[in-house]
Each structure stands twice: as C-alpha cells, then as structure tokens.
C-alpha cells in the first residue's frame, strides 16, 4: 500500500490519459456509427454486409491493430493518435449493429404516424427515430465503454502511456501493489464510464422513468 501512497500523482496522470484514450474513441465511434447504422437500416441489403464487416474488424487483435496504425496512417510509432484511431475502429465495429438494431426497435406504428404527420428526412431521424433508439444504443455504448477501457491498457506494449503501464511495470519489477492498483483503477474507470452513460440515458429518456407510475396502459 505504501507503493500506492507514494505514487498517487503517477496513477492520476496515467488515469487521465486512459480516460482520453478510451473516451474520445467512444464519442467518435458513436458519431461514425450513427450514419452507418442508419444506412444499414435504410438499405436492407447493406445490413448483412456492414454487420459482417464490423464483426470481422472486431476479431483483429488489438496489438496488431496498434502496430499497423503507424503504417496505415503514416504517424509516429509512439503517437497516441494510433491508439485513438484503433479504438475508434473497435467502437464503430461494436456500435454499427447497436445503432441499426436500436433504430429497428422503434415501433412501426410510430414511424407510420410520423410519416402521416408529414415528418421527413433529418427531422424524422432526430425528432422521432433517434430518441426512441436511445435505450438500445446506450446499452451498446456501455458495452463499448467497458471494452475500450480494458483494450486500451494493451497500448502500453507499444509505448503509449495509460493505466496499463501499472500492469506491465508491476509485472516487470514484481511490485504486486502496482499491479493491483492498475486493475482497481481500470475497474473504477470502467464503472465511472458506465455510470455516466447510464446517467445520460436517464436524462435523455424521461418518458421511460414514468412507465408504470400510472400503469394505465391498456
């Protein structure tokens, strides 16, 4: 425990970069997955293609993807952008399906009503379809967040610093407390991401909190 007491500053700095490396891809991934998921819904022939492609992307080992990035992007080997881009790829791979499924979870009679009222294009997407898909998308986002937090730690092997460093360093130098601290910090971080997404979902879906309050549905 004395190790932890002596290294609060280091843990905090590593945790902060961990947050960025896992969090930015989450946001970027969602922004990219939204139009892709929409397209998968819109053109039904695209759906299986996009789903298989994203499934395939997810099977590439993270270390391989990290190593490939500088070659593909022409970035420096130690550049954190490599990690951000690779993590974004993973997030998109996870979320395309989620977004498509979320959009198809919107009841057909609601979509028909929207059409009948004269809703079109963007307005229909942002006004009706997306808000109703939030619960499903948020569930997928929570899985992606936890998975990102855990995958990012592998980046220590290509020299990009974050909480994973505590694991590799602790292993190399036989400091158990450091390893434990790394694990605990990762878990705490994952819980924080999860809690924030849950909170966001609750704020975005006030109508779900009242369900059953009156229980008058017939």
């Amino acid at each position: 425990m004395t190790w932890v007491n002596d290294h609060w500053g280091d843990i905090f700095t590593l945790a902060r970069s961990h947050v960025w490396l896992a969090g930015i891809p989450l946001v970027l991934g969602l922004l990219i997955a939204l139009p892709l998921g929409w397209a998968a819904r819109r053109w039904s022939r695209l759906y299986p293609v996009l789903i298989s492609a994203s499934g395939l992307l997810y099977t590439i080992p993270s270390l391989a993807l990290f190593v490939l990035m500088p070659i593909i992007l022409g970035t420096k080997v130690l550049d954190p952008v490599n990690v951000v881009v690779a993590m974004t790829v993973y997030t998109v791979a996870l979320l395309v399906r989620t977004v498509a499924d979320g959009l198809s979870s919107v009841p057909d009679h609601v979509l028909q009503a929207a059409r009948a009222m004269g809703y079109r294009g963007f307005r229909r997407f942002f006004g009706v379809e997306l808000p109703l898909a939030v619960p499903v998308i948020a569930a997928g986002l929570r899985v992606a967040a936890v998975s990102n937090v855990s995958i990012v730690s592998v980046a220590s092997l290509i020299g990009v610093a974050q909480l994973g460093n505590l694991l590799t360093d602790g292993y190399d130098r036989f400091i158990t407390a450091e390893i434990v601290a790394g694990i605990v910090a990762c878990v705490v971080l994952a819980l924080v991401f999860d809690g924030l997404i849950l909170l966001g979902q609750r704020l975005l879906t006030p109508w779900l909190r009242v369900r059953g309050a009156a229980g008058a549905r017939s």
């Binding site: 009679h109 609601v110 004269g118 008058a216």
Partner: protein, 380 residues
C-alpha cells in the same frame, strides 16, 4: 371532396390490395370504408395522403390530382388518426398534440394554446397534458390521437380504426364524442373500420369492400341495411339488420302512457302495482322497484336498473329496446333533458313499425345526388 378514380394498388409480390376503386367522399361528410380483414381499407386510406402510391388511377382532393402535390405539404394538410393511436411515446400529451403545428413552424405560444384547446375539445382533463402516452388509458390515448390529427385544423381527416383497441363501453363514448365534434367541425372524413355497427352508426355514407379490394356497395347506411346488393353484403351487414335499420326511422309520435312514480326516499307501502318507477327530484327516471318486496323508504340500492331509457325524439330502435329491456315491460321514455314523459309497450312500437314505410329508393337517390354515383358502380 375526395375522389377515387379507377384506383388500383398492386403490391410488389403481386397482391392486388385495391382493385379499380371509384367513389367520392363528399365534403363535410363521413365516408366509412368497411370490410373484412385484408380487404384493402388501410391501403385505400393511405393512398389518399400518399403514404402509399397507387399503381393505377388517380385520387383528387377538391379537384386537384394529389400525385402532383408536394408529399409533406399534402400530409400536413390532412389529419391522420392511426390505428392504436400511434402516439409518440417520447413526447408528452401536449407535445404529441402539437406535432403538426410544430412541423408547420407555428410559434411556441400559439402551439401550446391550440394544443390545450384541443385537449378540452376531445374531453381530456388539462392535467393530462404533461403525461406521457404510457400513462394514459387506451381510451385517453385514442382521444389524444384524434386531438393530434385535428391540431392544424385540416379540412380532411383520415381515420384508421381509431376506436378498435378499446372496450365496447369506451368505444361507444368515443363514437358519441366523435359525432358531436364532427357536428361542430364538419370535416371531410374517411373512416376505416371492420365493425359494421360502427360503420352504420358513424357513416353518412358507407362503402363495403370485399377481399381483393373490390367495392361491393356504397350507399347511405339505411339503404345498405334495407337493400344489400348481394349475398356478401347481406352477410356482412349481419343477421339483425332488420332490427338495426330501425335506428334510421325517425320516431313518429309514440303513444305514451303516463306512469305512476315515486321519488327516491319515499315509501312504496300500500302501492298495489307489481312494478313502480322511481324518479329523482327532477323527475328523471332512476329505475324500477317491486313494492311487494320492499317496506319503508326506497333506497338507491333497491332499484332495478336493467331497463334502457329512450328519448322521445330518438329512433324506434331505442323505444323498442327500452320496452324489451324493462322489467315491467313498459319502456321508459324521456324528453331531451332527461325528464320522464311516459312509458310505451313493445306491441305499440311494433304497430308503429308496421305502419311505417321501409327506407326506400328515394332516400338513397337523394343521398347519391349529394354524394356520389357509387351505387351504379356496384359490382356483380
């Protein structure tokens, strides 16, 4: 006026949902499309606001071909009540009602005002405004659906089985409220249902469709009941159509007998008659009691409430039903304010029916002039 001219819809895959449909829905009237499941009612309705495009034929709105109009503009000008209300679950009642005004870009204050006005119009309490649809009963949701369709005051309303998802009692209330509202608003309405009773009750004009989207008959409801054009229509309008057609015959003066009454709270001791009618202090009938089984003051729980009450200005069907359902066999008749005017017996109503004419060709022709030439397009 909505006019279908040789409209056919064939879905990809080959199903012909609507086949060469021609009819007119007159301005300010309710035209009901009725028929068995899958006969193309929803398809016909959705072709009017172009949610579905016809394969052949034209649909015009006040003489203008709808296929030349801008889709979204057309839809925003036509109220649509979707089956099972189809409310937006993520919007409050008030926001649901304000949907089309918002799309039309009205200012916020005007939208809120208009939405509140509509809620009271359709008989919803103002405190429901901030609820979400999941917090409403089925009947309340249907009312919100109607309010939402009315929001931008469209001259045309399309209603797809708007009252089918609620129990019979609520359905009747909704139908009555709807007729009252239409009496004030006079919209051009195309109403879809699979329930012939609802069609007869609500329609100024009823179009019966058969599977394959073929128009079997179109006429006013009284004529439809009296003169079904073929076995299909006869079967569809039902076995008790003779009884139901009574509702279209205006009541001649009923031979009313005056009825001995007691006011609730009074005693029936010493009254020899087997049944006595109990009224409230404003002479409105409450129910029947059997004096021989009671002693002392009449309490509300002593009342037999089985009998229906008919209005003197109502239909012969109501009067006959009042007589048939009354435990004393005397049908209770009231005036328009609900005050007792007398009682009538079933045989007396039947005598009136015997002496009255059946609804005849004249009636149907007068309607056809006002509405459409549909009857001549009857198939088979």
């Amino acid at each position: 006026m909505i006019r279908f001219d040789g409209v056919t819809k064939q879905y990809p895959g080959g199903t012909v949902a609507v086949d060469d449909l021609t009819f007119t829905a007159p301005t300010g009237k309710i035209t009901v499309l009725v028929g068995p499941s899958g006969c193309g009612k929803t398809t016909s309705l959705r072709m009017i606001n172009r949610m579905i495009e016809p394969t052949k034929g034209t649909i015009s709105l006040d003489g203008q071909d709808t296929s030349r109009m801008n889709e979204a503009d057309l839809r925003r000008g036509i109220g649509y009540v979707i089956q099972h209300a189809g409310l937006f679950p993520h919007r409050t009642v008030l926001d649901n009602v304000g949907t089309v005004p918002r799309l039309l870009g009205w200012d916020k204050k005007k939208i809120a005002e208009r939405s509140r006005e509509l809620l009271s119009r359709v008989g919803l309490a103002p405190e429901l405004a901030d609820r979400y649809p999941s917090q409403l009963s089925g009947g309340q949701q249907q009312r919100v659906g109607v309010a939402r369709a009315l929001a931008a005051d469209p001259p045309v309303m399309l209603m797809d089985e708007p009252f089918s998802a609620v129990d019979p009692v609520v359905r009747e209330q909704l139908q009555d409220a709807f007729l009252e509202l239409q009496g004030e608003l006079g919209k051009t309405i195309v109403f879809v249902t699979h329930d012939i009773d609802e069609a007869i009750k609500l329609g100024d004009q009823v179009a019966v469709l058969r599977v394959g989207g073929i128009l079997a008959q179109i006429s006013d409801p009284a004529y439809l009941l009296a003169h079904p054009v073929d076995d299909f229509v006869a079967d569809f309008v039902g076995k008790d159509r003779g009884y139901r057609s009574l509702q279209f015959q205006p009541t001649p003066r009923l031979p009313l007998a005056s009825e001995r009454t007691v006011v609730v709270g009074e005693t029936v001791d010493g009254i020899g008659a087997p049944w006595v009618l109990v009224v409230d202090d404003q002479h409105r009938p409450l129910g029947w009691v059997e004096p021989s089984r009671l002693s002392g003051a009449v309490a509300p729980e002593d009342l037999h409430r089985g009998g229906t009450v008919a209005r003197a200005s109502g239909s012969l069907r109501g009067a006959l039903d009042a007589a048939l359902s009354s435990p004393s066999r005397r049908g209770v008749i009231v005036d328009d304010s609900g005050e007792l005017v007398g009682t009538v017996r079933a045989h007396q109503v039947l005598e009136l029916i015997e002496s009255a004419d059946r609804p005849d060709e004249d009636l149907a022709d007068s309607f056809a002039e006002a509405g459409s030439d549909g009857r001549r397009e009857d198939s088979s």
